[in-house]
Symmetry: C2
Subunit: 349 residues, 2 copies
């Protein structure tokens, strides 16, 4: 049995989306159980309306909800120890739940996660990993915004953390890893990226297969299973891809309604367009994974709907079932053993 | 009359693409004239084959061509003063040409451009600007890879340079400018980006209308006319968007050929798909503009064809006709007058 603790108050739309998503996820994974944290007056009737969910759910009342636009420091001040977000994280800390999910404010969730769960021993900074649909399938991309900037050692850690997630998510033995850079020649790019590349090459880490630098075009190609970068460029890459997909969707709609002939073609090809829409649906890859903490936390997009929230719950389920934390521990332990070699590589650089 | 100096030896495919592109561009702009630099034995027959082009072109023989994979230092060592690339730049320096175009090695072209043309007085570092198709039309995005990292003062300069290009390209009086960041709240992002934002807001520059931070999704939306970022994240954003567009194109082809019904729809909607293909054609926005030098240099994609190279020549024509250099001078002069205010803003931060 897998238990997910859920911040029922997170997200732009609130508990309706969260509980609706839980109902959907339960249909797919009948062995799931939930601990919801939130305002009983609002959440209880929603759970009561689904008897099947009610049987698999506990609701714990909380008075405080973290606002979507609170700064992390403010959220910690007003929401620590008592908010629905904090309580969901605490359930992972105490072992009551296997993984926590929230559609709340990203900065607040990361700040609280660090405070409540603490950084995994041997990791300097947690990262947020996204699942990126590619031409080959899916890849893991991190960091997509937990940190701005990263030193070589942190990029090496991100490679290990992303590798652990790719193992848990795709069932791979030794996922391929690339460092995002602006050219494939060794001379180019940020010094930290070059240093991390040298360290990863020399370390020859047993859990990941380092393949060198990759460029922006390689992400969508699926050249590697794990794409590693610092959070500023990772976040910009992610949002630029989202924007480009939406832009092309707009173009497509515009040309398909511009003439009678195109409209007729659209009618014939309607099932094909529906398939394309499903494939490009951002809800399918909803859920950022917080990596490098003593416990797994999944961040759902704040503006999603029940289908999207269910995808984040599916991801949480997979991460717990496939023992993400155990795989992180293996990766970090191997890194620790290799650390002298890594440090030496950095010193030589 | 506008004269373009052209490195006839640049690009993956060499002179055939370059001369073919020049023929196309001349059809659209009959007042164009060209000075080609390259190996006479290869280039002269290509020009001779098009009598109309021959009438508007001079060819100057060069023995040396910069290789596509030469490092910038190596290219300078072997190609300075004598390569087709150098000679094309020198023609701008001497005033023989209004603008130079090359499809050669980007790093070498930037290194030679700096060495030959020198940085514009008052500018710290040149940048490469791309034209980005958006839902609203087109935007200028810079820097897309000339520099890795940028301090606040350099980002402010990029804003001025990009503004000058938007004025020349779109005929705007006071283009809107945004700083690329990972959140719209003032608290987020890199310190340099925050400082640049404060300086731009306080400067209230007469030539640009600063609109604050924008995110990756805003680029494709066309939220602002000019998107400013440092070269690492700018290059990653550009290539990620390219990769995403190709990926969606692949999806679309796959679904439209997956069933007889979809294929039939495709036949009906063929003109619509052709229009979409034209709209998404990367050749249409081929050409990076080197900004902040004493002269305009356009970098064509190395792997393009005559249609793409002609687009880079069209861009060169527009930049020369619309007096890009004059607009850069105006922007930098206004910045110089405001500089005390800008420095103060940085000091306060």
């Amino acid at each position: 049995m897998t238990t997910i603790s859920v911040d029922a108050m997170g997200g732009d739309e609130g508990p309706g989306v969260v509980i609706g998503g839980a109902s959907l996820a339960l249909t797919r994974h009948p062995d799931l159980s939930f601990v919801f944290f939130g305002d009983e007056a609002i959440v209880a009737p929603l759970i009561d309306a689904d008897p099947r969910l009610k049987e698999r759910a506990r609701l714990i009342h909380t008075d405080v909800a973290v606002s979507m636009d609170a700064k992390p420091s403010q959220a910690l001040r007003t929401g620590r120890y008592k908010s629905s977000m904090w309580k969901a994280l605490e359930a992972v800390k105490t072992g009551e739940a296997d993984v926590a999910v929230s559609a709340g404010n990203t900065g607040a969730l990361m700040a609280m996660s660090k405070f409540c769960l603490r950084t995994f021993p041997g990791v300097q900074r947690p990262a947020i990993a996204a699942i990126w649909p590619t031409r080959r399938g899916e890849s893991v991309v991190l960091d997509v915004g937990a940190n701005v900037g990263a030193e070589a050692g942190q990029l090496v850690e991100f490679a290990i953390l992303g590798g652990a997630m790719a193992k848990a998510l795709f069932g791979l033995e030794r996922p391929t890893v690339g460092l995002l850079n602006i050219g494939i020649e060794e001379v180019k790019g940020l010094e930290a990226v070059r240093e991390a590349g040298q360290a990863l090459r020399e370390a020859n880490h047993p859990e990941i297969d380092y393949r060198g630098f990759v460029e922006g075009t390689d992400i969508g190609k699926g050249t590697v299973d794990v794409v590693v970068t610092e959070g500023f460029s990772g976040n910009i890459a992610l949002k630029t891809a989202e924007g480009t997909a939406r832009q092309i969707g707009d173009y497509l709609r515009a040309v398909m309604s511009a003439s009678l002939r195109a409209k007729l073609g659209y009618v014939f090809a309607a099932p094909a367009f529906a398939a394309l829409k499903r494939k490009m649906d951002p809800r399918r890859s909803n859920g950022g994974v917080f990596l490098g903490l003593n416990g797994t936390v999944i961040k759902s997009h704040g503006g999603t709907d029940p289908i999207g929230f269910a995808a984040a719950l599916d991801l949480a389920y997979d991460m717990a079932r496939n023992n993400l934390q155990g795989k992180v521990a293996e990766g970090v332990a191997a890194l620790e053993r290799l650390r002298p070699a890594v440090s030496q590589a950095e010193a030589v650089e």
